[in-house]
Symmetry: C2
Subunit: 194 residues, 2 copies
DNA sequence: AAATATTCTTAATCTACATTAAGTCCGCCC
DNA sequence: GGGCGGACTTAATGTAGATTAAGAATATTT
C-alpha cells in the first residue's frame, strides 16, 4: 500500500510523530475498484472514510426518472463519502463508483473512532477537512442558484482543468446540472462564436 | 448573556467538566442584531463563529443582477458563517443579515484556536458539527439538481415547518431557487387543486 | 476485425420557470 | 390617519434548457 499521498496530504494540516504515523498506518487498508464498479450503492451503509490514491471516483444520486446527478468527483488526493449515511449508519441515498480503475485507502468507522481516541490531533485534521468541504459546498450551491449553464461550465473548467480533459462530456453535464444534449449544443455554439 | 441553549447544544456531542465550561464561557460574547441589519457583508472578513440564540439570520449571495440567493436560515440553535472567508480570512462573498431582531453568541477566530488548544474536545465538537453540515449540503445539492420547484418547496416545508409560517414568501422563494412570482402562482395552483 | 455498446452531435419540438408590468393589500412610520 | 414602501397576486409574453429521436463517431468486448 502506498501511503505517500495520504501522509503528504495530512501533513499539510497537522504534523505527526513517527509513533502517531504508525498508529495511523495500523488502521489503513487499501482496495482497488475497477472502472464502473461500485464502492457504495444506494441502500448500503457507508462504513468507511475513503481517500483516493489513483484513478477517479464519483458520488451521485439517481432521481426517480433514473437520471444521475453528480455531487463530486474525487481524483487522487480527495476524500469522498455519503456523509449522512456515514454519520447515521443508515442506508445511503448516494452511489459511489469508479470512472477509471481506482485505488483507495480506507479506514473503518470503528477504527476512526479509535484513532481519534489515540491521537486527538486527527479530530483536528478531519475538522479542517470538513470545514474546507463546507466552503466548497457553499460555493457550489451559490453557483447552482445564481449562474447560467455556460457560466457553471466555465467555472468547472477553471476549478478542475485536468478533469475536463479526461472526463466524458456527459459526466461534466451531470455535474453542472444540464443534459448531455444541451452541453453539446452549448459547446458547439461557443466554439463557432470565435 | 444566556448560554443555556449553546451549552445544551454542545452537550449533545461532547461532555464538559465545570472547568472546561468556564474556559468556554471566557471566550463567549453576545450581540444583538436588529431586523435588516448586517452581521457580515460581502467584502468584509468573517472573523467569528456565530451561534444564534434568538431570532433568525440568513446567509445569501447577491448575483450580478442584484438578485439574492439564500443558502441557509439560522433559527435559534444553529451556527452560521461564510466558511471560505472564515478559513482563508479573505473578504466574504456572502452576506449575513437578520430577518428578525436576533441575538447571537460569537467566538473570535483567535479565541477559537485558543479554545482548541486548551480543550481539544472542541476540535471534536466542531468536527461533528461540520460533518453534519456537509450532510445537509449534500442533501440540498441533490434536491436542487434533481427536484422540481414544487418538490423543493414540499421538502422545505417538511424540513423547516416553523419557518414556513413565519417567513415572508419571497424568502422561501429565494431559498428554493425560484422567483417570488412563480412561487405565488405555484401555491395558488396547488390550493385550487384541492 | 467484427460486433456491440457507449458517447457525441444535430435538430425539431416542448415546458418549467423567468421577465415584465400592473394592480392589490397590508404594515409601519411621520 | 394618511401616505408609502414592501409583500403578494395575476397575467401576458419570453427563453433557457429538457425531451425526443435519429444518425455519426468512438470505445470496448469478443
Amino acid at each position: 500500500m502506498n501511503t505517500d499521498l495520504l501522509l503528504q496530504h495530512i501533513s499539510k494540516h497537522i504534523s505527526l510523530t513517527g509513533e502517531e504515523e504508525d498508529i495511523l498506518k495500523s488502521v489503513l487498508h487499501s482496495k482497488k475498484i475497477k472502472k464502473k464498479h461500485f464502492l457504495l450503492q444506494e441502500g448500503e451503509v457507508n462504513k468507511t472514510a475513503t481517500f483516493v490514491t489513483s484513478g477517479i471516483l464519483r458520488i451521485y444520486s439517481i432521481d426517480k426518472n433514473g437520471f444521475e446527478h453528480i455531487l463530486q468527483f474525487a481524483p487522487p488526493g480527495w476524500w469522498i463519502g455519503d456523509m449522512k449515511s456515514a454519520i447515521t449508519q443508515q442506508p445511503a441515498t448516494l452511489n459511489i463508483d469508479a470512472i477509471e480503475d481506482t485505488e483507495i485507502i480506507w479506514i473503518s468507522k470503528e477504527d476512526l473512532e479509535k484513532l481519534y481516541a489515540a491521537v486527538p490531533k486527527f479530530e483536528r485534521f478531519f475538522r479542517i477537512l470538513a470545514e474546507n468541504s463546507i466552503a466548497s459546498y457553499q460555493q457550489r450551491l451559490v453557483n447552482n442558484l445564481s449562474l447560467s449553464a455556460a457560466e457553471r461550465y466555465d467555472n468547472f473548467c477553471k476549478l478542475y482543468p485536468s478533469l475536463v480533459q479526461n472526463l466524458p462530456q456527459k459526466q461534466v453535464a451531470s455535474y453542472i446540472g444540464v443534459t448531455p444534449e444541451f452541453l453539446s449544443k452549448m459547446l458547439s455554439n461557443l466554439s463557432e462564436k470565435k
